[in-house]
Symmetry: D2
């Protein structure tokens, strides 16, 4: 609940598409990307942008960006401007760095000596300040505060160049990866290819799918024929465009998507000893439940968190419920583990947005409760276990508990399906300051009384980690289009920095 | 699922508010109405409007209307225009009659010989054509196709009038009710009062609440003090403004809300023998689950529909699931009755709206499936009972069944938590033509095979009716502000015309 | 200058068009009306609207209205909505009565017992208050404060009606004209005809033109062939659509435009003894200089005003100039009469609108001067006669005089090409209150010193009247499409009420 | 006429303002700049932008840009965002290079190693292609096609830099001026100063003014007190903000505006022998008539062009007139020289914009004539000399000549107050291709017959040049705030490349 209320939810979504075979094909690239971005809308609702290209030697880049939801930005009329195209990349955004302005919208396009490149980025560079100064010291003026402009200029920057140089983009990408260890997943469009890059720590997700022919009856055939390739932050975006999930991009991997297929160009290693650091909150909260990471469905991880929580913190109660909607898998898991009945106690009004008008009076005091209706007949006179996804600052669960009590709940026990957040994130998640986190406050010691619950228990870090690791299957990397099953050394590993303070890389200040 | 896809969902929402005690008070009437309308947003997303008044002898009416969601129409700036006010009425709308244009937005305001009145309306007049001609025959020009303008002019129209006449609005309202039996719930603002009217058949809902002081900790006290009165299509709108549900307006009742309280002015009877005819689809689909009608929660009725369906049409299966979100109470009821496990199999992308861009290619074939992600790990290899709220035309459930099968479901059994729709509605619900309804087509005899299911069963009309009636508690009517517990004769009774063809009143043509 | 600054300029513009011959024709009626309205834009910049019709027995009316300039309201996309059509009427508006809101935009459309009518109106009814009460007494609710809704309902209102009645619109129009003597010019569209009406006093202008074929080289042929008929507030709107001016509608005349031509249906007489009362400010200021009234060009009248002013108030000076742009014809006339050199001394910045942002500081003090640049080389060291169109409140000419002095003018003599305004107008012109008019203030006796001029003289009322009457040619009225040259009795006569207090009709209060 | 029709009119306008004395002052910098830009609106109506700063050591830059007119872009609300500020620069734009998109709007802001700079530019770099490649070769990616981004990056670019370097902006500006000879006037804001730069050829104008206290009566005192300094493309923008014209920035001059005053930092010389090359079309057409260049008013030059034309090409006629509005000074000059009467024959509808909807039919054929009304009484039966500012492609004057003939003109003689354009401009003016210019076509030899005139004569190049040079007064340059009267060598000189093909610098390809 609080993750959503605090706007911790959003980061960014990447989606790229390239058609296979002889160009031009029948595939409507701008539409595919738009639908893909709609499938990633939960990763950023502030702005959206798409850049497409015909993929010719002197490619014509077409760009459209705008503030707002994907459906709003990409009207039929705006989509027409992006045709005819054979490949393209898109982006949905909630700003982590950079102000909320049109000029910070991605993808970024710059002209370089060897032509135009378009770049889309998810993540936040841990050493952005140093890199900005480095570029500026070489005389590059930066026109935005965005990491993505920074990455774009870093890719362009390798002086001095000769005009007849072959543009060695792989060398430039590897150079970039040496400059900054994390956090980034990237799509880079140049001429007739899209490069996909995941940082060596694998902090942000990136995966590949295959567009297959769709039958007239509306369903993709499990065909061996390929109409194109897609690359996305999350696999949940594949179903709505009739694409099949293929695999994840491995930490440190550079892939090239061309009309001929998908090719691994290189896998940049981490410094000796370091493990991967996939953001564990992608499992806990950010990603859509039907997305697949490390061979497992996000929904299943959340369900196991609920089960684990029931093991760690059982309670004598009549029923289990959820703070809709994100905590529902955990609540169902908790109920199943305990053998308690699962019921709904809250009904969410989805028309109450975060940007809702601020009433200047008594109405403000109703707070978050105005988002919910109460299904009192379902719990009046009962002892309720209410499962929430997270409690961060501790000030949004109280009105809900009161609503339930006032509507007749006999007891209200809060179970939190993730551990308390205690530390800041420097890799793209907009977490409140350390002082604002309830886990760092004196009230944390009497949290149940502070929020008005009969009891409150968080999932342990170990519980979360085991819930995640239990379902991981080995990650395959395709090299030169062929699949391999040997997981790169250290490919598995998760960033729990906000919970434990153990950051994957040493931070510069 | 199909009710939403076909846009059958929407009708209109009414919300009025008047402050109690000495005017002006601290209560911010425009804000209260706006929040109330947000709580009724599910009843109409096309336009919204509010008219407020200072309630003086020559009242200054302030109006703002606009296309779009309540939050969009009522920005802080627009709300300022509606202050300072002591009473007001608001409306959210999806057109049932009248084109989708700003000039059809409600409330309607007209100047009459005795001053201005503002009118908001939910419903559709069964004899609108005759009433329009009657008015026009008397020389009144009608500037819109809206029933609400018609009602407003009918209220204004009682020639000849003298300027020193006392404006007998109760007589005018009763005259209107004699002219048209159904379907309407009305709010009428005049000078310093709001009249609330429910047609004699009680076809559309209307209920009354009381604004009580809110504590600094954000929760309404169960206080005996009254800050104001609210009147609304559904009680679900009360929680978010800190109001307490008081009671329903009875069929045929005319109530007056003033600063002094709520008063029943009259209860207009139905013709001898007629029973009330509250639209049964308010229970099945239109209303929010936490709303209360006839003493029971809508959610509970839906849950009982699911239980009844399990009794009527059990199936050998491994698990029960829902087409989110409207069928969930029924699915939980079904699962509970059968003793089967309830799991989630579909994950809804709430960013895919009905107005979504139409892909001009292969993507169109993916149809409704693009709204959903599939939680395949939850049901692969299992026999699934999938509960839906309704199947109307029969063309949206097929792609979902295929999604499940392609993702590994062993069997898919469809259970529909309402009876098949077979007849048109003339009282405000926008149902497809008789020919388009699947229940009137040959394919209905082989529906399972037509939609690709292993089996499909609808709830019986009797099953629905008993699920509704089981929970009804007697309805109290307050007279002169005092509560009585004697239910008016025939107050209970439901319109099932779209299911049975039995219309509550004889239709004119 | 002040007329523009005070917003006295605007009233309303009417434009109608009907195609001749077999329908449908090649003529693009919505485009013709749009261009016609652009030609009348000086008569109202607040809103614009067009209603078109296919002219069938049950005509499909198409309407588009919007706030802003004609070009802004009628984009290509909006124009498409108005096709295919064979006739239509349009309106540009600056509110004289009625608030500045979309719902007051014209034309108004109402459905009557005999079908829809669309009405557009220029003017203000002197007895509107009484007529509103009369209608309301008969039970008609009025939804706007606009005279045009009032007229529309008056046309609809003739109870009781039978459905098989022949709709006698001529009788209704004459009935309306008996109810209200002035001020109105009207366009009324019904089925396949447009009625044009000018009030018996002829207070507002209305004239008829003929659309002739246009050559490929861009010029209308003086052809006898007719492609359609147009009716407009001013003839200046004809040139841009390739139409030829035909004649004025006479005071009190009702004309019918059909596909077969233009027909005079009746000429409603004024009460015995009354003369016509064409608003003399149409000559002085409102109309475009190339428009023709009473057989003469407006420009010529203004030029004669300047000559007359030179005769009435000569001055020893070096040169004559104008406050651009409206006073230029008078200035040229003055210069010619005196034999003095005409030069330009001010350069107008046409990008400074009346709605310009209000600087909250020193810049406010610069006032009207910020609209002008000074051409100092043209007058430094010289004695200047500056001709302005009017001085109403007296506070806008001062900064201009100072600008000239500061830039080196030796003397500045103001000559005003119209008499002082002393009385309110009740026929549609938005004049400041009597107390605000400089002519009613003590300062008027020392006006030159008050405004900082060396001298200031207004044109006399007699001078204005003679300048107007000198060029009037007899007005022809076509009956049944044939031209006649007998001017109706009392057709000539001008309303000078704002100058003399002699109103054309007795005013009711 | 054709210059306006062909959109040759627009280039760009620059306006900067800094307050004098102790900061903060009472001066409302964003308002002053907005009003200044309104005064330069004729130089660009496509977009507008302002960047302001508090001028602190780590200055807070505030920026607002938008498409459309200055009044539209800078609402009161948007202006608030720019406060509180002590200095700022603004820009109005019509694209000469760079597409018509928000991202190309100026001013440009970039962060450099030494902080942020904001840059506004008028002109077009003759060697932009080479400079772009040079920057890209050094690894700078360019995100727009705008010369202004190029200039900004060139200013930022002087690798390698050390962080403790003193930022020597003067050296950087001089370096830029060495890289590119013309065409540019620049405003550069950095910390607490504004640098003004005019290219060594003086191709684009730039001048300085002084803000003096304004009296309560709305007029600036000729005071010795200084409230601030302004720098602008044209002096016409000074009057509306109560500023006094001080002087021009000299060709090649770099000035610094600070709170302490205006200081000449350097004057970069041209290569030996080169004369200055102030664009002669600033006199002929671009600039507002009340602007001052080289000590003379633009209006006077245009008037002299008319006189010179009368000497070069007299004609037996009855009267002289103008194609309003730009040709009026020349027409008055011609009339005076000939002793013929000056009258108005055309009346311009200022509501017909260049973006006007394109009628898809007969109306297109009316062409430019739809902008004009005809004052036929003024010239019927007369021989008319019609003075126009330029004839470029020759296809807009024909319909006007026909209008006059059809309205009774006996003869129509065209006199063009500038020489024929024969060559392209590479310095910022968007001239049709050489092939499209009428002067390069066979029809030019029979131009009168081609356009339908009785005769047509252009002003000679020598005539234009002498009309310009006759009024030039020596240009003073203030050094270190002190005025000097010695004109820099070669300061006087005009670019007539589009007329003669003699370009001021050798062009690179």
């Amino acid at each position: 609940m609080e993750l959503e209320e605090l706007g911790i939810r959003e980061e960014c979504g990447l989606f790229g598409c390239i058609t296979a075979g002889e160009w031009p094909t029948q595939l409507d690239v701008p539409h595919v990307i738009t639908l893909g971005l709609v499938g990633l809308q939960h990763r950023g609702q502030e702005s959206a942008g798409i850049v497409t290209s015909d993929g010719e030697a002197l490619p014509a880049f077409k760009m459209h960006k705008g503030m707002g939801l994907v459906n709003h930005v990409f009207s039929e009329e705006n989509l027409k401007k992006l045709s005819v195209s054979n490949l393209g990349i898109g982006h949905t955004r909630y700003s982590t760095t950079g102000h909320s302005e049109l000029q910070n919208c991605q993808p970024f396009v710059v002209e370089t000596l060897h032509g135009k490149i378009a770049v889309a980025h998810n993540g936040e560079l841990v050493n952005a300040v140093r890199l900005r100064r480095k570029l500026m010291r070489h005389g590059v003026g930066l026109s935005t505060s965005s990491d993505s402009e920074l990455i774009t200029q870093l890719l362009a920057f390798t002086p001095p160049l000769e005009e007849d140089d072959t543009p060695d983009w792989i060398a430039r990408i590897k150079n970039l990866m040496n400059e900054t260890p994390t956090s980034y997943s990237l799509l880079i469009m140049y001429n007739d290819v899209i490069y996909g890059v995941r940082d060596p720590y694998g902090n942000r997700p990136l995966c590949i799918g295959r567009l297959i022919p769709v039958n007239a009856d509306g369903k993709g055939k499990n065909s061996s024929e390929t109409e194109g390739w897609v690359i996305s932050s999350e696999s949940c975006s594949f179903l709505s465009i009739g694409a099949q999930y293929d695999r994840e991009v491995a930490p440190g991997e550079i892939v090239k998507l061309s009309r001929h297929g998908v090719q691994t160009l290189d896998i940049v290693p981490r410094p000796r000893g370091d493990t991967a650091a996939f953001c564990i909150f992608e499992y806990v909260y950010f990603s859509r439940p039907d997305s697949i990471f490390e061979g497992q469905m996000v929904y299943s991880v959340r369900q196991r968190c609920g089960r684990q929580l029931a093991i760690e913190a059982p309670v004598e109660a009549d029923l289990v419920s959820t703070v809709p909607e994100s905590a529902t898998p955990a609540a169902l898991g908790y109920a199943e583990q305990c053998g308690l009945r699962y019921v709904e106690v809250l009904c969410k009004n989805r028309y109450v947005g975060r940007t809702f008008i601020q009433p200047n009076m008594r109405l403000r005091q109703l707070g978050v409760a105005k988002k919910f209706g109460v299904l009192s007949d379902n719990f009046a006179g009962k002892k309720v276990v209410l499962v929430d996804d997270s409690i961060v600052r501790g000030n949004t669960i109280s009105p809900i508990i009161k609503l339930l009590r006032d509507s007749g709940a006999k007891e209200v026990h809060i179970r939190v399906a993730s551990p308390p957040i205690r530390f800041p994130c420097y890799m793209g998640i907009n977490i409140p300051t350390k002082e604002e986190l309830i886990a760092n406050k004196p009230e944390f010691h009497n949290l149940a009384s502070y929020i008005g619950a009969d009891s409150v228990v968080y999932l342990s870090v170990e519980g979360l980690t085991s819930a995640v690791q239990e379902g991981i299957k080995s990650v395959k990397v395709k090299e030169n289009g062929l699949s391999t099953n040997n997981t790169p050394v250290g490919a598995i590993g998760h960033c729990t920095a906000c919970l434990t303070g153990e950051y994957p890389v040493e931070l510069e200040w």
